[in-house]
Symmetry: C2
Amino acid sequence: MAVTIKKIAELCGVSRGTVDRVLNERGKVKPETETAVRKMAAELGYQPNPAGKALAARKHRPVVGVLLASDGNPFFDDVIMGIKRSEEIYSIYGLKVLWRSMKGYSVDRQCALLDEIKGQVNALIINPINDERVAGRLNALVEAGVFVVTINNDIESSRRHAYVGSDYFNGGETACALLELLTGGKADIGIILGSSHVLGHQQRLEGFRQRMLRVPGFRLLGVVENEDDDICSYERMRELLAAFPTINAVFLAAGGVYGACRALLSMPAGTPVTAVAFDSVPSTVDMMKQGVLQAILYQHPYRQGRKAMDIVFDYLVNGIAPKREKNIMKNEIKLLENL
Amino acid sequence: MAVTIKKIAELCGVSRGTVDRVLNERGKVKPETETAVRKMAAELGYQPNPAGKALAARKHRPVVGVLLASDGNPFFDDVIMGIKRSEEIYSIYGLKVLWRSMKGYSVDRQCALLDEIKGQVNALIINPINDERVAGRLNALVEAGVFVVTINNDIESSRRHAYVGSDYFNGGETACALLELLTGGKADIGIILGSSHVLGHQQRLEGFRQRMLRVPGFRLLGVVENEDDDICSYERMRELLAAFPTINAVFLAAGGVYGACRALLSMPAGTPVTAVAFDSVPSTVDMMKQGVLQAILYQHPYRQGRKAMDIVFDYLVNGIAPKREKNIMKNEIKLLENL
DNA sequence: TTGTACGCGTTATCAC
DNA sequence: GTGATAACGCGTACAA
């Protein structure tokens, strides 16, 4: 029989209320009773029953805010699906979700949205812009007792409770190792990033560079940025290929994959170009089907959404703190066959 | 406010007990009250609260049996870790696990173990041998009210409630597509299977063959079986390479990966052989590090374990039937970098 | 055939 | 400071 508050109360000769006050640090309890209860709980290895907590939590009607810079970014479609699935499952426990989304990476806009939902939520899942003002807002929320989980992008300068996302550096390493296999270890390489202001993109580039040191046949001829925009991506890629005609392998490290692929398609058929990209959004899958992309890397977007909500639920409803601060999904390699 | 039994009872002007009898089909209720309650429940979209169920279920102290043919098979180490993690999480709800394991694929032994745990468990997670006698035992258990989940291998001829595992056919397809990329679409190929009596191995071969039809440069020179044994695997692989010296790509579709790799290493350094295998067991990872294997395919063993226990828990404690009968993990491609 | 009452573990609210 | 009590939603033994 698992140990319950009731049992501890009996064994200590006090009431359940007192035990609850001790274990949840509500104060108003004599120091000696406190230590006695603490000792007994530790001795018996007391673990609160989540079912009981969940039942009691129903009265709170906890609200979790979801704030994503997802408008017009198909990568987040799967993340949102994951969150929505969890929302569906947990609605029976009285959990409510407050959705907010924005387009692009405006710090002002994100701060405004944070101010708007402030005071309305018990927890927050956010895809934060890596900026001090955002970090400040998040810290204020944490201070006010809001449980904050960052998703897909972290903001380590803040005191958020948990992060769910991928290992960007490792994504770059994996991309390089994959290109090595696909090209036989000999290639002239071009890389397209989203923006050097996005931490994750930088880290992918770093990972790629690091791994490249072990491939003597690789030459990195150019790195350009496309601001995650397809048109810009198309132009930059054409310029890159024109400037370095020997490029026969490209790594598309962020958004704008479709534009870059169209640029590849637009070049006169010469030496075939090996290309790998990130994330299986529909337009990217199209490019795989057309044979422009040989493989993609995948960062489990759906599971990111599920995991973030699971963490929030465990905290808010079950009273369980996250097991680890960082929840990192693996970078997977996908061909058309195993998408 | 979510809809509860209590609310339905009030609205229908009956007692909670009656609503419960209707909803859980315990009988002893007047047909007209029954239809009224049913209608009201459907109208309000009643969903039982898992927390309440879990709390009430504590009195039952449900037991789940785990029966795996895992002894001496390192693939199952991660599966077991996943199950154990779930066991830990769910122990607070009063869930108990009865562990049984066996070595190899003896139908007699598996039947004996099934007979042994019969009557002691409310649910069963089993890695079944694909045999009619086993299927019969499982059906008897289902008949007796035991909730049965097959893991890693299915046995479709039985009436098990759910299956958790991978798509074997797709694993073969993916392996072929991967080899196509790694070899540039031109190779003489050898394949090693575990046993043609294991359905999954057969299906992987089928998937590979099917996908190969689209690769004109591939020639499948030989398929041999190794009974998942490393020594046997070593011998068969050497024979295969001796018989077909042009083989420059191999697909290791099951166990005995280490033996086959040692055979590859033992050959005089001639044309390099591209090799892919299944599952990231330690000896296989070693062979990757030595460069014998270029890549492996991965079927999420840990998640298989977690998922199987989650399904059992949802049913036994929360009273939720599995959403889908088949829970299929993706076949992932792993390099050393993203293991 | 139906209703009542209690227990599951936790928390909030009184009353003392 | 502390204890008693009433929810929360569900299952069920027992009484009517």
